[in-house]
């Protein structure tokens, strides 16, 4: 099965706002998802630059193509599980 792509924005704004902590997924992902994900880094998704959202909504993470705003480790893990569940229903 194709791995779920987890793209973590590591532009300065997202990185400082907490993306760095989400990278824990690279080392310590929960056992049920660890081998089903591929962690990628993206240098500034340019979302922090839009005036109405700005950094306030960061850090940004994409799970496959779905965008997570104000991402936290928990939120990302929950989203990955959700996607996995959907895949297994198919």
């Amino acid at each position: 099965m194709e791995k779920i792509k987890v793209k973590i924005c590591v532009g300065t704004s997202c990185f400082v706002m907490g993306a760095a902590q989400i990278q824990t997924l690279e080392f310590n992902a929960p056992a049920d998802i660890a081998d089903k994900i591929e962690i990628l880094e993206e240098r500034c998704m340019n979302l922090c630059k839009e005036l109405h959202t700005k950094y306030n909504r960061g850090p940004f993470v994409r799970v496959n193509e779905e965008l997570i705003e104000e991402a936290t480790y928990e939120k990302v893990v929950a989203k990955i599980r959700e996607v996995l569940q959907k895949q297994s229903c198919k």
């Binding site: 590591v10 532009g11 300065t12 704004s13 990185f15 400082v16 706002m17 907490g18 760095a20 902590q21 990278q23 824990t24 690279e26 080392f27 310590n28 240098r43 500034c44 630059k49 950094y55 936290t72 480790y73």
Partner: protein, 486 residues
């Protein structure tokens, strides 16, 4: 815990960003909105209600502005006012960690609780072993009277069913030197005489109740409102803390307004040379062992809590010291700002006339975010002085001892040992070495487990940062005892 930084720590980053933004935007005219922005009415609250959250946030903002929440005299003084006061300061306020009393949830006083697993057994070893008669049997089950309990843990040890649980107080557990304790109301207080400013309590509190005075506004004021040249001295743990190369970061710092950027790894090279020479001298005198001196939290712990270890601590100065000395020699009128992973450096800087301010990587990050600077996109600029492999490897555990060992040569045998993290246990170990002698003769002591890459002011994960530090050290040239530095 899975993630090194808890949500309360991440909130501190946001607070700092908001404060910088508020300063850049209108010099704090609207600073009183910050707690409202961070805890809007519609949002969830993390304490009893958003109003309490905001009250706590106000105190955390005060700390960000360099004030100490404990020194509040009038609750009506606004953040705007505190901001203006911050801009009137011309020297850093004295370093101090303090507890926001309304935020401290007064974690459980009696740390031992008997759970439902208790069988109310006939033998009752818990009751018999309790030195304070704090345990009684109620409805066939043991109970601890929190008024009598002294947290000795005897009941915990003896229950054959493991029905007693220990509930730690995170800050007290984290503090290696017993500097933070409860008052009669159950709130925590820090004894400044005992505190070594390591920041472990601050990182561990799940309520974000422990704060430390920031100097972020002082530095911005120096840059924006004075004609001083402000020089950033980047600690070697900087590698991996921001996206992009370290030379992009130099470019970014110039954009912020720093006039020059120098690596503290250069000072670390000097520390390496002097410490290696000192080691040889001490061993030739027949001393049993020497310890490193570059970690200020450990240095202070040795002075205050381990007087028997203190004579073994190297008298070589820290990388920050030598770097600042170089900077001030070249440009006596400049303002020298150490930027690092460390809270204890703030305390060290108070005794170093050459260091004017100390920022953490997190604070630097807040300045970059609030200024809309993406490090990656900044032009690469070189450091004005080049560091060597030895100095670059300081921030990872084993790095300092390794650097020193590489310069000792074959005059004396060097047997290095890492004391990776200052804890109650490692303090005991060091005391034992001082009393009974140590097999190894070069002890590297780092207060933060993993080295400075795990310091409380870091942004990146220590594992990733350590890799970046190693890679950078690989590209450095080898230092020799007579390499001329600076």
């Amino acid at each position: 815990m899975l993630i090194p930084k808890n949500n309360a720590n991440l909130m501190r980053t946001k607070i700092l960003i908001k404060l910088v933004e508020s300063y850049l935007h209108d010099k704090f005219d609207n600073a009183d909105r910050i707690p409202l922005d961070l805890r809007p009415k519609e949002g969830a609250s993390s304490r009893c209600c958003v109003y309490k959250d905001r009250a706590v946030l106000k105190y955390r903002c005060m700390a960000g502005l360099g004030h100490c929440p404990e020194e509040e005299t009038d609750e009506l003084i606004s953040l705007r006012e505190y901001g203006k006061q911050a801009l009137e300061r011309t020297h850093a306020a004295k370093n101090k960690l303090s507890v926001i009393d309304i935020a401290c949830s007064a974690c459980i006083k009696s740390q031992y609780v008997i759970t439902d697993v208790c069988r109310g057994c006939f033998a009752q070893p818990c009751r018999l072993n309790c030195p304070k008669e704090a345990i009684s049997i109620i409805n066939g089950r043991a109970h601890i009277d929190p008024e009598k309990c002294v947290n000795c843990g005897k009941c915990y040890e003896v229950c054959p069913y493991h029905s007693v649980v220990k509930i730690p107080v995170p800050c007290e557990e984290a503090c290696p030197v017993g500097a933070i304790t409860k008052d009669e109301k159950g709130k925590e207080h820090i004894d400044t005489e005992k505190c070594i400013s390591c920041g472990k309590c601050l990182a561990s509190c799940p309520f974000g109740a422990i704060v430390e005075r920031s100097q972020i506004i002082d530095v911005l004021r120096e840059i924006k409102e004075t004609d001083h040249r402000v020089v950033a001295m980047l600690a070697p743990a900087i590698l991996g803390q921001f996206p992009g190369s370290v030379n992009n970061l130099v470019g970014a710092l110039k954009q912020v307004g720093f006039s020059d950027v120098i690596e503290v790894a250069v000072g670390a090279d000097i520390t390496t040379q002097k410490e290696a020479a000192e080691f040889v001298e001490r061993m030739e005198q027949g001393q049993n062992f020497m310890t490193t001196s570059c970690c200020p939290a450990y240095f202070r712990a040795a002075q205050v809590h381990m007087p028997e270890v203190a004579p073994h601590v190297s008298s070589t100065k820290t990388p920050m010291y030598y770097t600042a000395e170089l900077v001030k020699k070249e440009d006596p009128g400049c303002i020298a700002v150490f930027v690092g992973p460390c809270l204890a450096k703030r305390a060290e800087a108070e005794y170093d006339p050459n260091v004017d301010y100390v920022l953490t990587f997190e604070e630097l990050g807040a300045i970059l975010v609030a200024s809309g600077i993406n490090v990656d996109e900044c032009p690469e600029e070189p450091f004005s002085k080049v560091s060597h492999a030895q100095g670059r490897q300081f921030p990872v555990t084993g790095g300092v001892a390794g650097a020193v060992a590489s310069l000792v040569g074959d005059k004396v045998e060097i047997r290095p040992e890492k004391i990776d993290g200052l804890t109650k246990e490692s303090i005991k170990l060091l005391k034992r070495y001082a009393a009974k002698g140590s097999e190894n003769n070069m002890l590297e002591v780092m207060c933060c487990e993993g080295g400075c890459v795990s310091g409380p002011g870091c942004i990146a994960l220590s594992k990733k940062a350590a890799r970046a530090v190693d890679a950078y050290a690989q590209t450095g040239e080898q230092l020799t005892p007579d390499t001329k530095i600076g």
